[in-house]
Structures are given as C-alpha cells and as structure tokens.
C-alpha cells in the first residue's frame, strides 16, 4: 500500500513524500498531453508554432465546453448521449430566431439570440434530467431517445437541408465571437478558460458540487444524508444543456449555419474527453481541468495526423477510439497500484 511506503519515506521529506502522495490518475492526462506535444514537435516542427497551437485550441473549444458539462453529468453517475443533437437543435433554433427579425437592431437581436440559445439548451437538459429522475429510466436510454428526437426535429426545421443566418451584417457582427482575439488569445480560448473556472468553482467549492460527487459516489448514502438526489441529478443535465448552448454560441459565428450533420458524434468526443481526463465513468470523481486537457488531446491528435503523412487522417476516429481504450487501461493500472 502507498500508505506504508509514505511512512517509511518520511525521512526524505519534501519531494519524495509528496510524489508518493500524488494521485497519479489526476496527473496522467497532463503527462499524456506533454507526450503528445513532444510527438507533434518531432513529427513536424510547424506543430509547435504559436499559430498552429492557437488554432488547435480554438477548434477544440466546442468539445471542451460541452465536455465540462459532461463532467458534471458523469461525476454524478449519469450519461448524456444527446449533446451532439442538442447542439444542432439549439443552433437551428437560435438561427431561426436571428432570422425572424423579432427585435430592432442587430446587436440587440444577437444578445437576445444568445439568451434564447441558453434557454433552449437549459430546457433540453431539463427535459433529459426530468425524464431520467421522475421516470426512473436509465440515462443511457433516455438520452438515446432525446438524441434521436433533437436530431430529427433539427432536420425537420431545416427541411432536410441547412438553416443559415440571412443577414450578412449580423453575420459580420457575430463572427468575431469565433475569430476574435483578446490579449493574444482567441476568444473561444478565453471562453474555455472562463467556463472551466466556473465549472471548477461549482464542482470543487460549492455544496452543489459536493452533492454531485456524493450522488455519483453512492446514491443511497446521499439520500440517507438528506440530499435531494433527483434535484442534483436533474441539475447536472441542465448544466450540460447550458454548456451545449455556450458551445453553440461559439459555433454559429464560425459557419453562420446549422446543418443536419451539425454536432454529429460530438457526444462521443465529449465523453472521451471526460474519461481520458480522469473522471470516473461510474461517478464519484470529477476532474474539470483533466476534461479540458482531454479535449485538447483529441484535437491535437487530429492535428498531428494532418501535419504528418504517416497515418491517413481518415483514420482519425480509429486513433481517438484507441486513445480512450488505452486511457482506461492506464487508469485501471494506476488504480490497482493504489
């Protein structure tokens, strides 16, 4: 046991002791990220250029932000497969609203459009949460159902094609949300940091966060401790919905449209990011920064594959799939040692 080891090495103090105490599952994702950086630099010197790295970070923002929400759902012992379809639906409704011209002034329109997106996301999450908790149905099944529903409604709204922003002026006004740079960092990167900080604050510092971990750790213990288990679980899906909406707010200005394939397979990438970030799929452990690190890793792997000519980039899905399996094996081994 690490305990006995720790006591026998107390004499060395300092680093030795601290290293033995470190939770290796928490550090592993960051080591893996560092390894990927090394690999990228070896494969193509351009990889380490600031432009390339910022580009990678920016592109990872959708998955990173959605995955922060997924960290809450998964730490509470749940699962949300509907996030990709939900993103498409939220984007579709947001653009339809922007095209409606309901409010005078483009700026006001955009501001309310963002609120609409957040509202739709929160409602979609609430729907998932309510059916799961009140209906007492497995989250896997419920979100599998809503995944189909959200996707299908989007296709219907788009009439089988795409929903595009009509006003060119509004597009130009909205675009900097994706392309803009502030203090040297692209706006989406700032957004990842902001959502990450807020997520970490909620999960680690508030009683709601503590309750999320308790519910994911053991629902019975949470219930016997007087925690409103259903309320906590439902709330994690609402947070997930809001995170999806935030991601959509960055996504829409990029292309100015939502299509029937918007957000396709995002749920897999989000869950992968969460799991390789060190959050336990069975619940009870949540790692916000690990999740963000995981989202970066997914994007960097793709980037390295594009920059190198060793493996066809068509195999990117296979490589990402391999990564999640390897990550689980590593986690398992580290936990056994503990």
């Amino acid at each position: 046991m690490s305990d006995t080891k720790a006591t026998t090495t107390t004499d060395t103090r300092g680093f030795g002791r601290k290293f033995a105490d470190l939770d290796k599952t928490a550090v592993a994702p960051f080591l893996a990220l560092a390894a990927l950086f090394l690999l990228g630099a070896l494969v193509n010197p351009n990889f380490l250029s600031i432009d390339n790295l910022l580009n990678v970070l920016t592109r990872s923002s959708f998955i990173a932000i959605i995955a922060i929400g997924a960290t809450f759902v998964i730490s509470a012992g749940g699962l949300d497969l509907s996030v990709g379809s939900m993103a498409a639906l939220v984007a579709g409704i947001m653009i339809l609203f922007l095209n409606s011209g309901a409010i005078d002034g483009d700026m006001a329109m955009l501001a309310v459009g963002v609120l609409v997106a957040l509202g739709v996301g929160a409602l979609a999450g609430l729907l998932n949460g309510a059916v799961i908790t009140i209906g007492k149905i497995e989250p896997f099944i419920v979100t599998l159902g809503t995944m189909a529903i959200f996707r299908s409604v989007t296709v219907w709204l788009a009439d089988g094609g795409s929903i595009a922003m009509k006003s060119i002026a509004m597009r130009n006004m909205f675009r900097p949300v994706y392309t803009g740079v502030f203090l040297g960092l692209p706006f989406p990167v700032w957004l990842i940091i902001a959502v990450g900080l807020l997520g970490a604050f909620i999960l680690y510092k508030t009683s709601f966060g503590r309750h999320v971990i308790a519910v994911g750790s053991n629902e019975d213990v949470a219930r016997y401790s007087g925690i409103h288990v259903n309320r906590v679980r439902a709330m994690t899906y609402v947070l997930q919905g809001i995170c999806v909406a935030i991601a959509v707010v960055v996504y829409v200005p990029r292309l100015g449209a939502a299509t029937t394939t918007t957000g396709m397979l995002w749920e897999l990438q989000a869950i992968t990011a969460v799991v390789i970030g060190g959050t336990a799929l069975r619940g009870g452990v949540g790692r916000i920064w690990g999740t963000i690190c995981g989202a970066f890793m997914l994007e960097i792997v793709g980037n390295i594959m594009v920059l190198s000519n060793i493996v066809s980039e068509y195999l990117i899905g296979a490589v990402q799939g391999t990564i999640i399996i390897i990550a689980m094996l590593v986690q398992r081994t580290l936990q056994k040692k503990k």
Binding site: T4, F208, R210, V221, G226, H228
Partner: protein
Amino acid sequence: MEENQTTSPGPLPVLEARGIAKAFGPVEVLTDISLTVMPGEVHAIIGENGAGKSTLMKLMSGHLQPTRGTVAIDGEPAHFAGPVDAEHRGLVLVHQEILLAPDLTVAQNIFMGRELKRGLMVNDREMNRQSAEAVRSLGADIDPTAQISRLSIARRQLVQIARALQVPHRVVIFDEPTASLTPFETDALLKVIRDLRDKGVAVLYISHRLPEVAAIADRITVLRDGKLIATRNASELQPVDMARLMVGRDMSKLYPEREDTTSSQTVLDVKNFDVPGYARDASFTLRKGEILGFAGLIGAGRTELFEGLVGLRTGHGEIMLNGRPVKFHTVRDSMAAGIVYLSEDRKGKGLLLAQDLRTNLTLATLEKFTRGPLIERKREDNSLDKAITDFDIRARRRDLLAGQLSGGNQQKLLLAKMMLLEPSIVIIDEPTRGIDIGTKEQIYRFISELAKAGKSVVVISSEMQELIGICHRILVMRSSRIVGEVTGEAMTEDEIVVYATGVKINEAELYSAGNA
C-alpha cells in the same frame, strides 16, 4: 491468555491451520491461529463480532490467502488457488451472506455452474427432483421451481446450505448459519449437522449463539480480537464460561451503569403506522431521555418501519412529535424536525467509502459550512478536528478515505456526521455490527450519555444481550408487527426470543386474530 490445546489422539486432522495470520494493509486482523478439525467432529469457532471468525474461515476455505502460516489437508500443506480449488478437494463453505441469483429458481440456484444435462439440454426435471430431496433433508419443504426472490430470508439460507452440500464434501464450514432462522429451523439444521458428523464429515461451525454451540459442538475454539484465546472440549465449557472467554472481561462492565433517565414527557407518539410490505399497524411511544430497544429476527421489519417513519420509504400513519402531528415526505423533513436515522448498512448507506473523512462528516449538514455558495474548508477542518477528539476516531492520517477506516471508526464517523444535525431523537440501527469490543463499549457509553443529556434514543439490534444491557424498554417485532414489550426484570433473552419467534402468542394478537 489461556492456552489449552486439547490433544486429539488417533487419526490425522482432515483440516488444519498452522500458525496462520492475515493482514489487510498494515492492520493484522488475525494473528498466529493454529487449530485442527478431525473427521466426524463438530468444531465450533466462537467470538464477538469482529473477532476474526469469518476471516479465519475464508482463509481455511481458499477465499483468502494467509499472510503467514499454512493451511494443511490430511497433514499436507495445501495452497488453494481459490475457493473452487478448495471445493475440488472437498472443502465447502456455507456463506453467512446470501449469495444466490434472486431471479432464478431454487433448483437452478442449487445446480448453478454444475447443471445436470441430458445430451445438450439441461435436465430440469432431474434437477428439480434432486433439489426437492436436498431441501427436504434439511427439514424444509420448498418448491424447487419457486423463484428465490419470493422466499423468506430463512428459506434462502436453507437453499444456500442445500447448494453447498450438493458438492462432494469432507469438510463443511458453516458461517453463522442460524442468524436468520427460527428455533424450529435451527433445530432442523442442527440435526443435519449431526447427520453430517455421523457420516464422518468434519464440520467447522461459527456462531455467537452460545446455547446452540453448546448443543452441537464437540470442541470449541474461542477467538478474541484476532487471537486464539482457547480451544477446549465442549463438555468443559458452560455458556457462561464461553461468554467470559469471548469478551475477555466481566460482561457487566461492557455496559454503562444503567440510569433511569427516562422522563414522563412523551416526545414521539406513533399510531397505526404501516410501511407496505414490511410493517403493519405499528404503535409505540418514545419518551424524553429514554433508550428504547427494537428486537426481532432479521426480516421482521424493524429497519423498514423506521425508514418509513423518517421519510426514507413510503409509509402511512399518525406521527405525533412533541404533541404535534407531523408528516415527513423526505428524510430532510425528519432531519429538520430533529430526528436522525443511522443505517445498519454503514458501507452501503451511511458513508461514502471512496471519499475522505471531511467530505463524509459534513455531507448531511453542508449548509452549515457555507458562506454564500462557497464551502468554507477551514470550518470543515475544525469540525473534523472536533469530531476526531469527541468521538475518538482513530485514523492514521486525516486524508484517509472512509473506506480505509476500521468498522468501529466508521461507525464513530457516522455518529459524528449525524450528530452535527443536533437531533433530539436518534435512531441507531445495529449500532455495533462488525465492531470490536473496545469500540462497542464506547458506543454504549455514548448512547447512554445521549439519554442523560435529555435526548431520546431508539436502538434496533439483533444482539439481544446488547439491547438488554443498555435499553430501558424493549419492543419486539415479528413478521411486520410489534408483538411484545419487555421492561425491567422481564428483559431477558428468553422472554425476547419467545416474542420474536412467536412461540408465545400475545393476548392482543389473539384478540385481533379472532376479529380478522
């Protein structure tokens, strides 16, 4: 310490422990145990909860590997690869916990993993026939095609025994087989064990029910705190001596001096309370400063009655708290009203085993440790310091996980957690299950101090001695009903057993039966 190994001349012991020890992490739970089991003998292992009986049996049946020493069969060291390997060599363990598939039938469970076949197909008819026979030989009549989930706990236990005996066996180990059986079923089981013995099978019998041990054992080994205290011929030991050896001190000192702290003021008055499927028509009162015991067999509905009362499961009936009618829709409501319930299932419902002590301590009272949305870790830490001192929680390090604590320290942590709610009524379910004797004494003292401080305590326990030792009054439940009350001089084990098993029928029940 009294070492008195009896010499057994003649044949070789079929199973033998040679100085075996077992440590979990740095904690040694068993130290240098040596004992023998002869063919055709019943060797009983007795000891308090937490003395190491079950661990010893798991070591001797290949479920666990000893950290030191060896287990020998027929005088040859045996290194079991696992329980299946041990079974192949004729060693069978009847587990204390029910390990059956609830959705399968009796016969399917008895033959699980060794189904009888005819050609490619399973031979259900033959398995059903043999199962019925096996169960009948245990003195029970159970339909072999019945689903396990429809059987009572006692009947499941019998099926489990039948399943174990289906394997060719030379040594059978029974781990507390009678914990959920009525005296009638116990008698039938003891007869089965005598038959086994007469056929030359060696039997290891673990129990802490001493009269039963006296009735069945040829030799008795006493364990205490993981050490072997004595091995004696059964004829040399009276139950009183067994108890003294088990506890290692005068039994009377285990319990705090009884003080009549009960006041005349009724704090809780429950009338005609039902918990569907578990408790029917329960009525009782609890007074300020009173320690009220709830006795009964496992499955009598005690736990469920109180879970229903505090809002953890559906229940209907009248609850008067300090003279006012109340309704608890969720357990939050009863907590707010000053009632706390400490689950018997500490590991499954009481504590988050994978989280640290601080998280566990403040889980039910987090709102007391927050300013705005923010948890104040400093105040949590102070509270943990206080809890560690007040409840004497012994943890090697403060950042241990709750699951790394011993059973006794887990119970103290759970007590500390629930006492943060500042309750006026404390319901403790199986307060000392799986806890060492030293901690037991501390918990009894704590309960008695609660009563002295004017709080009311309900103790639910299957340990009759413990209820008799600390309670002012004991109610007995059987088959979902409160069937009797014992107080004062009448608080004896015999009297409680009579109510718990229904051998004597309460007048009130006769009356209601007549009306039905």
